[in-house]
């Protein structure tokens, strides 16, 4: 597994996701956003969390137009894996690789806490290390994570099984209280049509080491490392 992490001005979680991928056995390279191509043999392109371009205009809007994103689009079109975490999810939505948009949290607050999310399906390259319906322990940290789209797209995402994760309580129940940012259908992450592109707001890279209090993120990177 060869991963390429695309770094934008204002990305700040690239080091953490690199560490998580390496811990799972992946080879990792970083790619500056101005590059027009990904390294040869890239299996997985990663858009890390952070505040690309200071969240100017709209979160992820300017990063989505970077030269490296054309390379990521070509990679995705070839069936290559793409993972966008937090700001990376926002960039995927702005770039058109995933539908919808992440709006300001419904309570207008930056939320930063431990959160359970339910794994909606465990048969993808990203979730093979989990069980269907498993409530995993993860962290969220964002001001704009309120997933919003038009009713037709929402129905299509649901109908095609493209919801990856939903905010839930400790028992895996999807409740209004657990959905702290107000996302439609409590959506925490979605897939592209072929499920080779995943965008999610929570940070699996936070929880890969028992030293920091959780390891539920590890299975995603272990699964990805085995993907190629």
């Amino acid at each position: 597994m060869k991963a390429a992490i695309v770094v934008f001005p204002g990305s700040n979680r690239d080091g953490d996701v690199a560490r998580a991928l390496r811990a799972s056995g992946a080879a990792v390279e970083t790619v500056w956003h101005a590059e027009a191509a990904l390294p040869d043999g890239t299996d997985l392109a990663v858009l890390p969390g952070g505040f690309s371009y200071g969240d100017y205009l709209r979160c992820g809007a300017i990063a989505a137009r970077a030269p490296a994103m054309d390379a990521v689009r070509r990679h995705a079109a070839r069936g290559g894996l793409v993972l966008g975490i937090c700001n990376g999810f926002q960039i995927l939505c702005e770039s058109g690789l995933l539908p919808g948009i992440l709006m300001r949290n419904a309570n207008l607050r930056f939320i930063c806490h431990r959160q359970k999310v339910r794994v909606e399906r465990a048969d993808t390259a990203f979730t093979r290390g989990y069980a269907d319906g498993q409530a995993i322990d993860i962290c969220v940290a964002h001001g704009e994570g309120n997933y919003t789209t038009d009713p037709t797209t929402l129905a299509r995402l649901e109908g095609d099984g493209r919801v990856a994760f939903r905010y839930c309580d400790a028992d895996g129940a999807v409740t209004t209280d657990a959905n702290r940012n107000g996302s439609m259908n409590a959506i925490a992450g979605i897939y592209s049509e072929n499920r080779n592109v995943l965008g999610l707001m929570p940070h699996p890279e936070n929880f890969v080491d028992p030293l920091v209090g959780g390891t539920d993120g590890r299975a995603m990177f272990d699964g990805l490392a085995q993907a190629a």
């Binding site: 300017i62 137009r65 702005e94 948009i101 419904a106 107000g182």
Partner: protein, 98 residues
């Protein structure tokens, strides 16, 4: 030529910021404000003085970057003549500002 681009949320898109601003206006004791929607304004200076050319450039700018057409509408207003601005549009003084 100068243009103003106004980006607004589409009807039906929830606007928590506008709602909070509306609540703040109500807390000021202002009556008669039924709702607030927050948007964005871009003032753009263009090299061209041709209206058709300006609209073509700005249309691309809006579609590709300035507006997210999933949730936003945009409107382009061209200012005829030189970009002057009125007194309220005066620049901030370079000196003497705290």
């Amino acid at each position: 030529m100068r243009a103003r681009i106004i980006v607004t949320l589409k009807n039906g898109v929830l606007d928590p910021q506008g709602k909070a601003i509306g609540g703040a206006l109500a807390s000021l004791g202002l009556d008669g404000v039924d709702g607030v929607r927050q948007g964005k304004v871009f003032d753009v200076d263009l090299a061209t003085s041709d209206e058709g050319e300006a609209r073509a450039v700005l249309g691309i700018a809006c579609e590709k970057l300035l507006a997210n057409t999933v949730i936003e509408n945009y409107r382009i207003e061209l200012e005829a003549g030189a970009a002057g601005g009125d007194a309220s549009d005066a620049e901030m003084p370079a000196e003497g500002h705290p």
